[in-house]
């Protein structure tokens, strides 16, 4: 990690610690704000939206391993603005498209005027229907994360037996959204698309799209996994802090060995997961042969470990953790949803097994 990365991490840590207050976050949700505009502006002012955008497109070009600690902070502070989806995920796919597309979208991603999100990995691809002259782009995207606040969505399209990726402006006529509040304080949506097809929306096609799909969702796994590590750390820290000050039977809960061992297990799981996620990010950045396997393993590991860790955090807090006002349960809820993004752990493990079998078949 260079000084540059360390500086970014420190400033992100400072900003979130000083400004991303949990009570204020809840208050903003209660008022119906899908995101906090002030934070969103600050994120781009501080350059976070440009972290992984290539230098040629005015970004910093950092690798995922460089910024994994920053992604963890998003989990740790329960950041609900979709910066990771927009800048780190969608931004990467746009950066793989033509220069025209990059020029069209990346400045908006960096300055925050474009909020992009991505369809679920098992989304049914959009289709092109009708005669060549007046074709329509059609389809339904279910449970699009942060789809309620996004300005654009990246969606798969299947046409002529070829995969494509399209970037759609959600304000276009012919696109409708059914928005919903989601359990992690965000605003999701079902998006219905039925509009005249315009080929300028196609970012990548054919082989390039196939590669992009793989890369996009592996990256989603890595980003989600790093966020999950931050969630585990946050849940553990709160538990340690709470059990130190909460007294029952005339002593601090933290003085009971039965609970100490369980908190030690939480730390073990958090560090194991963190180790694997960091290694997977390095492998990704270096395009190592095992990058795909490590990405699958890292996300699957985080999903299982963070489920246990966040459940344990609630259990050791007791009643207080079951209230909406208290923070620790929100780690649990965010993780519960992150578990099926971009796909469920069982699907990741199935893919991992396939990778292994393919590698040992002569």
């Amino acid at each position: 990690m260079t000084d540059e990365h360390k500086m970014l991490q420190n400033s992100a840590e400072r900003y979130l610690r000083e400004n991303y207050d949990f009570a204020a976050r809840q208050h903003s949700i209660d008022r119906g704000n899908a995101i906090d505009a002030e934070h969103w502006r600050a994120f781009s002012d501080m350059g976070w939206t440009a972290m992984t955008i290539p230098e040629a497109a005015d970004g910093f070009g950092f690798g995922l391993a460089d910024i994994a600690p920053v992604i963890e902070l998003f989990g740790y502070y329960l950041v609900r603005e979709p910066l990771l989806e927009s800048a780190l995920l969608a931004g990467e796919l746009i950066a793989a498209a033509s220069e025209a597309h990059q020029t069209r979208y990346l400045p908006g991603i960096i300055d925050g005027s474009v909020i992009a999100t991505v369809a679920q990995q098992d989304a049914t691809p959009l289709t092109r229907q009708g005669k060549a002259s007046g074709q329509r782009l059609q389809g339904d995207l279910q449970f699009v994360p942060s789809g309620g606040i996004a300005s654009h969505v990246l969606a798969p399209l299947r046409h002529d037996n070829q995969p494509h990726w399209v970037m759609l402006d959600l304000s276009l006529e012919g696109i409708s959204r059914e928005r919903y509040q989601s359990h992690d304080g965000r605003q999701g949506a079902h998006i219905t698309i039925d509009l005249p097809f315009d080929d300028r929306c196609v970012l990548v096609s054919g082989i390039q799209a196939e590669v992009a799909t793989q890369a996009l969702y592996q990256r989603a796994m890595l980003i989600g996994a790093a966020e999950g590590v931050g969630i585990m750390q946050g849940a553990l820290d709160l538990t340690v802090e709470y059990t130190r000050q909460r007294e029952q039977f005339g002593q601090a809960l933290a003085s009971f060995q039965a609970l100490q061992h369980r908190m030690a297990d939480m730390l073990i799981q958090t560090e194991l997961a963190r180790s694997l996620v960091l290694a997977a990010c390095h492998a990704w950045d270096n395009q190592a042969d095992n990058a795909s396997t490590l990405a699958l393993a890292a996300k699957a590991k985080v999903d299982a470990a963070a489920r246990t860790v966040t459940q344990e955090a609630i259990q050791m807090h007791g009643g207080i953790a079951t209230t909406n006002e208290y923070k620790v349960g929100h780690y649990f809820k965010r993780m519960a949803l992150l578990e099926s993004w971009p796909q469920h752990r069982d699907a990741l493990i199935a893919q991992l097994i396939q990778n292994r079998q393919a590698s040992i078949t002569p």
């Binding site: 679920q120 279910q142 449970f143 994360p145 059914e178 919903y180 509040q181 989601s182 359990h183 992690d184 999701g188 079902h190 007294e247 029952q248 039977f249 005339g250 039965a258 609970l259 489920r307 459940q311 609630i314 259990q315 007791g318 009643g319 953790a321 079951t322 209230t323 909406n324 006002e325 349960g329 929100h330 649990f332 809820k333 519960a336 949803l337 578990e339 099926s340 993004w341 469920h344 752990r345 069982d346 493990i349 199935a350």
Partner: protein, 395 residues
Amino acid sequence: MIDYEQFRQTVKDFLKTALTPELQRAGELTTSVFSEFNAALAWQKKLHTKGWIAPDWPTEFGGPGWDIQQRYIFQEECKLANAPSVVMMGIQMLGPMLMHYGTEEQKQHYLPRMLSGEHIWCQGYSEPGAGSDLASLKTSAVRDGDDYVVNGTKIWTSMAHHANQIFCLVRTDKSVKPQAGISFLLIELNTPGISITPIVGLDGQVEQCQVFFDAVRVPCKNLVGAENDGWSVAKFLLEFERGGHNFTIDIKKQLRKIFRQAELTPWGKTTRSVDPVFQHRLAEAEIDAMALEQAELRIKGAVEAGGNPGALSSLVKVVGTELGQRLNELSMDLVGPAASPQCPELLSPEYGGDLLVPEHAVTTMAEYINNRAATIYGGTAEIQRTIIAKKVLGL
């Protein structure tokens, strides 16, 4: 000899007519131990009219006179038919205790009103500073003429926002060891000086409250048991909270729902109902469910023979609640991103609009969230294990 199959049919026939689609819907949409309040009350009134509201009570107090197996059949049929849950703090918890410790006057006043739903009870045990360490409770009751004057606060009082009565553990003697200075009081919630603050749960809904007592005057005749003997009264009641419940029935219902969810969840070219990986995990949980059922039956056998479930009720509580949570996780594994929407209106029995998610997935996330409390309320899983270690193993 009782013909149990005929009895089951009688229950089924009753449910067929009494359990309206609206009540059934409320049962289906139940995401915790409590159903939507109005539906629960409406169902209580129907059962009361039929004489079936308190299956566990002796006939002299209004019970139907069923044996253990009939009660089990009744509970099972109600649960599987999606009947709403009746608010249990009165009939299931306070009632049996009053029959044992209450004065004649208390029994005559409270028991019939409990059955009819005129009195809705909540439980004032925990305090902000007294959770697992219940005996450290501080809410005080000081005698003043024919009244006690109560000051302090109770927390995690489920349904206090719908209740009109509360039973409370209060401190009546500060000079003795904690368990020895506690008394058990019955208090009307509309007494001056009581205020109730709802607590929003993690699922965004209100089920719990905090109740505040500021110089609340309670007639001394509302004391249950002897003054300063509240701890034994409370323990008696807690064993009913833990032991009076048939976890197996809840588990069976959850399993049945998961089978259906698995059939409706696509997996590659098939569904999760034929995915060996998922089915293996599910079967492991089923095996534990079978073991739990047999353990519950053994305990029931012992109780029928005149024994006390004692520490075994702790065993069943640990296994029943933790297995329930495992099943919630299996459901979560099935519904995937359909767990995301947090839309309380979807869980209202009156809602008739678009569901946003597949019908079978509507309650899954809220159940997953709410059921985390199952290993906390009624004595945490940690407290139950301590009871087992001390009482059974003698450690």
